[in-house]
Amino acid sequence: MSITYLEAIREAQALALKNSEDVFIYGQDIGLFGGAFKSTKGLYNDYPNRVIDSPISEDAMVGLAVGAAIEGMRPIIEMQFADFSSVGFNQIVNQAATMYWRTSVPCPITIRLPSGGTPGSGPFHSQCMETIYAHYPGTIVMTPSTVEDAYSMLLEAVSIDDPVIFCEHKYLYYHLKAESLPRKALPAQKARILRPGRHATIIAYSAMVHEAVSAAEILSKDGYEIEIVDLRCVKPIDIDTVLGSIARTGRVLAVGESFPWGGVTAEIISQISSEGFNLLDAPPARLNSIDTPIPYHPELWRYHRPTANSIEEKIRKLIKE
């Protein structure tokens, strides 16, 4: 038996619906149709009153979730694509994320963002939004990179009493497979040392973890041992695990698929520079996409985002410094 990243997301939602009658899923085409990516396939049949189609109204979908949370429920909102969450931006950052602070009433909602690029998807079906939402106080932002994490972290997201932005990567939906789903899991807010090393550390999250692993494989043929830290959650950042790794390697590259101005990788470099400067043997480096909208053509798209090759190149330069 094997299970994909996408199926893990479906299974996590099935279990969340089974475990609590307070859980419901709301989104476009998610009912009988099973969702644009089929991540709610069959759930409507088992829970017709709690797997509900919405109109194309991202603002109102999130507002509705906030109201339901006030009433004690734990809604899961599926955005059809992360890109469209910009239409619900106000309700996410101003309504949901501020609610506990303003009113002392928790806002336990999970917003699923099918994120990231796939060949041919273009500027409006490829975005990574984690930076935008992580910027605001009151949100927790998860970016799982494995089948097991997609499952366990989504279950944890639903159980958390604050708004969770769950960035699930579309490129991983079908590519990643695992033999089984985990029974125990590392807490979502802990980073994981995915691969030990001693020459340099790559900090990555979501689909970039796999590009980093491929780069590390290439570099290992030349005798370089690259440590990889999978952040798993980008708000909050588990900076202790990051600094622990840099203490071993002395060199660091932070990799993210999102746009280069500011963002998660910049935040990591900033925290490393102020809290772990003395651990560094070379200037900390970062790699993001090119600073343009995301291109449609697969040849342009592959060049636009970080890849194993561009990461490898950056690491070779970092090691020589």
Binding site: P55, S57, M61, G63, L64, V66, P75, N94, Q95, P236
Partner: protein
């Protein structure tokens, strides 16, 4: 607060009772906001002051028809009268304006941004239209849980707020789900300084109801009895499962956008029109004409309001300001971040 079931079919004494109850909340709101405006001018209020002068009848008439503990009510900036009629303690209003650490937001937000979500009053954010879907969400959750029973949700907006995408999305969603939602639109002719001619092009705001497939009515926002009866009719329809209801109140904002604004853009012509009639004075005259009470009774209502306002302000003034050094600087209920 009062619940006025079936007064349309009831006796005149039922109507007079609800009119007098609502009128008392109008007086309290006007008295409180006049006082807060004076304190603002003396420089003792942090942030702005936004009053509902001229909109008290429309605001209070919605809330008087709701049942606290059962219904949901999310007021907006010009709903002091509605808030009080729904059951908001006056001292909480004073505390929020004066920045008391004992207020519902503990100094984290001010003036009209107060409420109590778990007691049926979701707390407004400033983005117009955003509360409509939140109220809908409470109703939606109740329906899933089987606890909707006879409850309704009500929220308010102005003519300007109807131009937002959030208003459109939320009204459409509520209509699709046939939720027992009542949206009042105080058509007070200006959104800050912008006249309705630059806000919408439909002949009448209530025409929007047809587009959403919901019921909508117009009421004379300066006329207390028209407001009470209009809301009663629509709220009964919502309770009976007839889906969302829009109630448009036509009136004039008898103030600036906030107390910092002397509103030179409001013409004398419109002030002297029927829209510019002060609902408080009009209600008082009608009550006296009908003989529902006498002048002494009304004088007592004003005196009682002054006493209540004095007491609330005094309490809020005597309380401590929030202390940044002992404040819980945490935006999360589930985790504690290092600051």
């Amino acid at each position: 607060m009062a619940n006025i079931a079936n007064h349309e079919e009831g006796s005149e004494s039922d109507l007079s009772k609800v009119v007098l109850d609502t009128f008392r909340w109008m007086i309290l709101a006007r008295t409180f906001e006049d006082r807060i405006s004076n304190i603002y001018r003396s420089g003792k209020i942090f942030g702005g002051v936004y009053v509902g002068k001229g909109q008290e009848a429309f605001s209070a008439s919605m809330a008087i028809n709701l049942v606290k503990g059962q219904d949901v009510y999310s007021p907006l900036i010009r709903d002091m009268a509605g808030r009080s009629a729904f059951g908001e303690p006056l001292v909480d209003a004073a505390r929020t304006y004066m920045g008391s650490s004992n207020g519902p937001t503990k100094g984290r937000d001010g003036n009209v941004h107060r409420g109590n979500p778990r007691e049926g009053m979701p707390t407004m954010i400033s983005h117009l239209g955003a509360m409509i879907s939140v109220v809908s969400g409470v109703l939606f959750a109740r329906r899933i849980k089987g606890t909707l029973n006879n409850s309704v949700g009500a929220t308010t907006i102005g003519d300007g707020g109807t131009s937002t995408g959030a208003f459109h999305e939320a009204l459409n969603l509520a209509a699709v789900e046939k939720l027992p939602l009542i949206v009042s639109i105080a058509n007070n002719q200006f959104a800050y300084s912008t006249p309705t001619s630059k806000q919408f092009a439909c002949h009448d705001l209530v025409d929007k109801a047809v587009g959403y497939g919901v019921n909508g009515i117009n009421v004379d926002g300066t006329d207390l009895i028209d407001c009470i009866q209009g809301f009663q009719s629509c709220i009964q329809k919502a309770r009976a499962g007839e889906g969302p209801q829009i109630v448009v109140g036509n009136l004039l904002r008898l103030s600036g956008h906030g107390e910092h604004d002397d509103a030179p853009y409001i013409s004398e012509e419109i002030k002297k029109s029927k829209l510019g009639i002060d609902c408080l004075k009009k209600s008082e005259k009608r009550i006296l004409d009908e003989g529902w009470c006498n002048q002494n009774d009304i004088d007592d209502m004003f005196k009682n309001a002054v006493n209540e306002v004095n007491s609330a302000i005094e309490t809020a003034e005597s309380e401590s300001a929030p202390d940044p050094y002992s404040h819980d600087w945490n935006a999360y209920s589930s985790v504690k971040f290092d600051q």
